[in-house]
């Protein structure tokens, strides 16, 4: 897909080096990763713990540098200032300064994203509205539940109107109603042309939102399943996932 892709991994490997008492250990994060996400496409990342899902996302953000291969965001190398301006990221279990309010937190992230003071007020209100947090906009986040922090995380992610969203476990800690609202929101974003890369253990959620699902096993893309493979029978993606990862899980 090359330049047309919102996000592309081309033969990407990431090795982590750990040194202890003069001995260096190499742990493979991802290996020979090839994956593309097009504009308006939602791609799910499935994998067991430690399979490389978070590493894959961090590589796109420039938080990690690839050992080999290239990660391109809208055709430019990942990590550049301009590429990050067009991206939104929701980490797993996001943490925010508890002494700040959601509005203040979003103001900080908005300003860091280059939004002007004039448009910021409206954007903050809109983002909080989208995640159902308008009523808590000016309450300090001390004592916020996991689900509420997740909503703040999603709001900061959407604030600057990104064209590529990287979501790491986006429904973690949410109640069933919030999960349904988040799902609708993701579908609307995808329909609006936003590219989505979603890492999750919630296979049923990915099944409902994603066009494709990349299954990672031991840092490699073991299989990419298209929606047509599971859309006919609900729960089929889980079967595909289990079939794919079971041999490697057993071998480990």
């Amino acid at each position: 897909m090359g330049v047309a892709s919102a996000l592309s991994y081309d033969g990407v490997s990431k090795d982590y080096l750990y040194s202890h008492l003069g001995r260096t250990t190499v742990t493979r994060g991802v290996a020979e990763l090839n994956l593309q996400v097009a504009a308006g496409e939602a791609v799910g990342l499935l994998g067991l713990n430690g399979s490389g899902k978070t590493t894959t996302m961090k590589l796109a953000l420039g938080l990690l540098a690839p050992t080999r291969g290239a990660v391109l965001v809208f055709g430019s190398p990942a990590g550049g200032r301009e590429t990050r301006r067009r991206m939104g990221y929701l980490p797993e279990l996001p943490y925010f300064q508890p002494y700040l309010t959601p509005s203040e937190t979003l103001r900080l992230f908005g300003r860091l994203s280059g939004l002007g003071a004039a448009e910021l007020g409206g954007r903050i209100a809109e983002s909080l509205e989208r995640v159902g947090l308008s009523a808590q906009a000016d309450r300090r986040m001390t004592g916020f539940s996991k689900g509420m922090l997740q909503r703040v995380g999603m709001a900061q992610c959407l604030l600057h109107d990104p064209q590529l969203l990287l979501l790491d476990e986006p429904v973690s800690g949410l109640d069933p109603l919030a999960i349904a609202e988040f799902r609708d929101l993701l579908v609307r974003l995808r329909e609006a042309g936003v590219a989505l890369l979603i890492a999750s253990h919630s296979i049923s959620e990915l099944e409902r939102v994603c066009d494709r699902a990349a299954i990672l096993a031991e840092g490699r893309v073991a299989r990419v399943a298209a929606q047509s493979e599971w859309s006919a029978s609900p729960g089929r993606l889980e079967d595909i996932f289990v079939e794919t990862v079971r041999p490697t899980a057993r071998a480990a």
Binding site: Y16, K58, L61, G62, L63, L64, A65, R81, E82, R84, R85, M87, Y89, P91, L93, P94, Y95, F96, Q97, Y99, L100, E104, L108, F109, R111, L112, S113, G114, R140, Q156
Partner: protein, 254 residues
């Protein structure tokens, strides 16, 4: 540069809303008030005791908070992963580092101003006549705070352990007040004390910033050069520490 100031302002706000910080400021207020009692006990040296104790306490509080803040701040953001949210924005790692450092130093300067305000009120109430050297003493404290925070920032990133950063900075801070004595020892020890001579070059020369000693001179006739020299030294030392810290964070995998 705009993002540096945005991050600095955010650090300042976070710091001042922190409960632990508010308790520390309350404690500082109580201790400064306690210095009045010490002054009374010092009988004819009341003002001297009040002045010395107050300034020393302000310096100690600011330095402890600056070292603790610098040693734990960036590492805590790595641990809680909140640094991901900042660096996933169009913010360079240099802007992040400078923003957090500047925010910490500004917080400490605000704290020093607050404590000094309370101290000055007590001094004036006890009949002290204000001297401009008092402000110079505060300036010296501010320079020490800036240097200590830069050292702690570097060691936090170098060792990736808040405890070791605290310990190393604490040791350097102590040694930094004994540069003259260390030089004397090195000069007498010859070759056997070469490592000490090398260490002297690396340890921050904190005695340069002890402007509060001028308050002991009846009328300050000291020239401005030591102040300029100290300012230039602090700027150079902080720049070196932050440049080394940036070299560490620039290629760091998060």
């Amino acid at each position: 540069m705009e993002r540096v100031f945005i991050l600095a302002a955010s650090s300042l706000r976070e710091q001042w809303r922190d409960r632990a910080w508010q308790v520390a400021m309350l404690f500082a207020g109580v201790m400064l008030y306690f210095s009045v009692l010490l002054g009374i006990l010092a009988a004819d040296q009341e003002l001297r005791a009040l002045l010395d104790f107050g300034l020393s306490f302000i310096e100690l509080m600011a330095l402890a908070a600056a070292i603790f803040g610098a040693a734990t701040g960036v590492l805590r953001e790595m641990e809680t992963k909140s640094i991901y949210l900042i660096l996933s924005r169009p913010v360079s790692r240099l802007e992040y580092l400078l923003g957090r450092y500047l925010g910490l130093v500004l917080s400490m300067l605000a704290a020093v101003s607050l404590m000094a305000g309370a101290h000055l009120i007590l001094l004036l109430l006890r009949g002290w006549s204000f001297r401009a050297d008092y402000l110079l003493a505060l300036y010296g404290i501010a320079l020490k705070v800036a240097v200590a925070a830069a050292v702690a920032t570097f060691f936090a990133l170098f060792s990736t352990s808040a405890l070791s950063a605290l310990v190393i900075t604490g040791i350097l801070w102590t040694l930094g007040h004994f540069i003259a004595e260390m030089r004397f020892l090195a000069a007498r020890g010859g070759l056997s004390l070469l490592p000490l001579a090398a260490l002297i070059q690396l340890v921050p020369h904190l005695q340069l910033f002890n402007f509060r000693d001028r308050l002991d001179i009846p009328a300050s006739a000291a020239a401005g050069e030591p102040v300029l020299l100290a300012t230039a030294y602090a700027a150079l030392y902080c720049t070196c520490c932050l440049a080394l810290a940036y070299a560490l964070i620039r290629r760091k995998d998060f």
